[in-house]
């Protein structure tokens, strides 16, 4: 159809312009800049003579300290995700299947209410609970169950507790949507065919909610590995994670290039997970390949 009239621009296309600009300015531009900075010797704005280098990445992968930081970040992310899933799944299942409207509203409020408070406030609340002279340790000591306060603050455990509390709603809301769309009659059909309620859950509901489990886990993991406030307050610089390290490199060491390289690594971890997620979902949903 070479003789076809030249296509007139669709007027509706103009409406996506704001979002295109927004994405370009606040997403692609900063990430692009970060990627560029991570392979430069210095800041081209202040230092006129800059050259390409891979030394930031080399430094990261040569020094076991930085590898340890990356691994700690991933470990905290994984544990947070698993705990959030263990807490969030039963809650989401309950919310998706509850018959009473009032009950559903109350559950939803209970899940959402903490999100109305700032992360800093919630983290401080955990500090009063977890510290050596905090509520938990004082209670246990006064009950005579322990003599020395448990080391809850300034440990990975403390960070995970704080992160789980903050990110569990994301897990619950993602899962509730998916579980709510599974026909309850499928479980009944399984029971009718001789499966105990637990077996029916394992055979039917669990596999069908796998997309929600994957999506919720991905979301919580990505948020947990990029969290800054909670690890700093509950870890008290005793536990070093990637976001804290990046902040230090910029604010204390002024090593923007190295900070950018660390940022790219953090981004890559999330990106790899998204790709793995799509693959897994493709396998789960059978023949349908995700384009």
């Amino acid at each position: 159809m070479s003789s076809a009239a030249p296509q007139r621009p669709n007027g509706l296309a103009l409406f996506i312009l704001p979002s295109v600009l927004l994405f370009a300015l606040f997403f692609f531009l900063p990430i692009g800049l970060m990627a560029v900075m991570s392979v430069l010797t210095g800041n081209p704005v202040v230092a006129p003579k800059v050259a390409f280098t891979t030394r930031h990445y080399a430094r990261m992968f040569d020094d076991p300290y930085y590898l340890e930081v990356i691994w700690t970040t991933i470990r905290i992310g994984l544990v947070t995700t698993l705990v959030a899933l263990a807490i969030g799944y039963p809650l989401a299942h309950w919310m998706a299947r509850i018959k009473s409207r009032t009950g559903h509203a109350l559950l939803l409020m209970a899940v959402l209410a903490p999100m109305l408070t700032g992360i800093v406030v919630r983290t401080f609340a955990w500090m009063t609970l977890l510290s050596d002279k905090g509520v938990i340790n004082q209670t246990l000591i006064s009950l005579g169950l322990i003599s020395q306060p448990l080391k809850l603050m300034y440990t990975e455990t403390g960070i995970v507790v704080g992160l789980v509390h903050i990110y569990v709603p994301f897990m619950v809301l993602t899962l509730t949507g998916v579980i709510g769309r599974i026909d309850e009659q499928l479980e009944q059909a399984a029971e009718n065919l001789g499966a105990s309620p637990l077996r029916a859950f394992i055979e039917v509901t669990l596999p069908l909610s796998l997309p929600g489990i994957l999506a919720g886990s991905l979301l919580v993991f990505a948020l947990a590995i990029s969290a800054y406030v909670t690890p700093i307050l509950l870890g008290g610089f005793q536990i070093m994670t990637l976001p804290i390290l990046i902040y230090q490199q910029i604010s204390a060491n002024f090593n923007v290039g190295f900070a950018a390289a660390l940022g790219i690594v953090l981004l890559m971890i999330s990106l790899l997970l998204v790709i793995a997620y799509n693959r897994a979902l493709g396998l789960v949903s059978g023949q349908r390949e995700l384009q």
Partner: protein, 358 residues
């Protein structure tokens, strides 16, 4: 081995006081095709779900072959069920769906494969083993659901409006096949439907339900020809219902004065001396229609409109006094059709009037 079911005074009251099923009692015989028929909200599905074990009765007992199963959990009842929307497992293939119940019973792989193959052959779905339910048509999904339910050789097969989602042609074909399969396997089958034609065509016996109660239990012919209540007469097929005071004919026989100058002679089986208000039903096809010159007529009227149904013709006729009646006649040829405005005489036998309980 097929079983009999006894439903003894079963009620279901939901939180909030809604009485979905109210003191329902019926006996379903072994190897019987038994339908629960009624409008939506009449309690038929709740009754079925109580038999399946998905709902616990608030009162009464359900017995299978004499054994009380009222509180036995669903997965230990050994019943097959075909759900209204089929409830096929979307993440499993056709063969895996059918194999599910056998797997739960711990059968070995080889005998599962043999039985699945036989069940799929029985519903004529051989060759589709590896498809997913979403890749099948509605009729095929329906057959998979049926195969999945019968492959476990259930004591009872429960069907919740299984043909509701199919178009008319396919529906009739499936009605025929399901009935044939049921007879061949000697299955006790409890079938829930709101479609009276379907119930009449397929069932050995029907329980007509309304407002949580059983109105009448009987064979299709009994339900149609001798409805005992006004609801049953009205719900099953077209019918003319008259209501009036008891009186006597000039000859001294029992009769009913339905007002507007119309007095209906009642069947001779009714006692002559009686008073009070009665309702009677008269099926449209029990009335004979002839041109207005007839002599010994039960009533006279004018054709208001003519519905040509093909094999039969349905007339709406206004009687002299103002009553309106439906009359159905076999199609006896174009030249024998009455058209609106024709004067006609109507004849029926008093014995065809069925006295109803209100």
């Amino acid at each position: 081995m097929s079983a009999s079911i006894e439903i003894a005074g079963v009620s279901k009251v939901y939180d909030g006081g809604v009485r979905a099923v109210d003191a329902v009692a019926m006996d379903i015989r072994q190897g019987e095709f038994f339908s629960l028929l009624g409008p939506s909200g009449c309690g038929k599905t709740t009754t079925l779900r109580m038999i399946a074990g998905f709902e616990i009765p608030s009162a009464g007992a359900i017995r299978v072959d004499g054994a009380d199963i009222t509180h036995v959990p669903a997965h230990k009842r050994d019943m097959g069920m075909v759900f209204q929307n089929y409830a096929l497992f979307p993440h499993r293939t056709v063969a895996e769906n059918v194999a599910f119940g056998l797997r739960m019973r711990g059968l070995d792989k080889a005998s599962i494969a043999t039985k699945v193959k036989a069940a799929l052959a029985m519903v004529e779905l051989s060759g589709l083993e590896d498809r997913r339910p979403t890749q099948l048509s509605g009729g095929q999904q329906q057959r998979v659901a049926l195969a999945r339910a019968i492959v476990i050789a259930p004591r009872v097969l429960l069907c919740d409006e299984p043909l509701g989602a199919l178009d008319k042609k396919l529906r009739q074909q499936m009605q025929f096949e399901l009935k044939q399969l049921q007879k061949k396997l000697g299955l006790t089958l409890v079938f829930v439907t709101h479609d009276q034609e379907e119930a009449l065509a397929m069932s050995d016996r029907i329980a007509v339900m309304n407002g949580g109660r059983v109105e009448q239990v009987g064979t299709p012919a009994e339900i149609y020809n001798q409805p005992t209540t006004r609801f049953v007469a009205d719900f099953i097929g077209d019918t003319n219902i008259f209501r009036g005071e008891r009186t006597t004919t000039s000859a001294g026989g029992p009769a009913l004065d339905v007002g507007k100058g119309l007095i209906l002679a009642l069947p001779a089986s009714i006692e002559t001396q009686g008073t009070g208000v009665l309702s009677v039903a008269l099926r449209p096809e029990k009335i004979r229609l002839s041109p207005a010159d007839g002599t010994a007529a039960s009533a006279r009227g004018v054709v208001e409109n003519t519905n040509f149904l093909g094999g039969a013709v349905l007339y709406r006729i206004t009687l002299g006094g103002g009553h309106r009646v439906l009359v159905q006649q076999p199609n006896a040829g174009t030249d024998r059709l009455f058209v609106p405005g024709n004067g006609v005489t109507l004849d029926w036998t008093p014995a065809d009037l069925v006295v109803l309980k209100d």
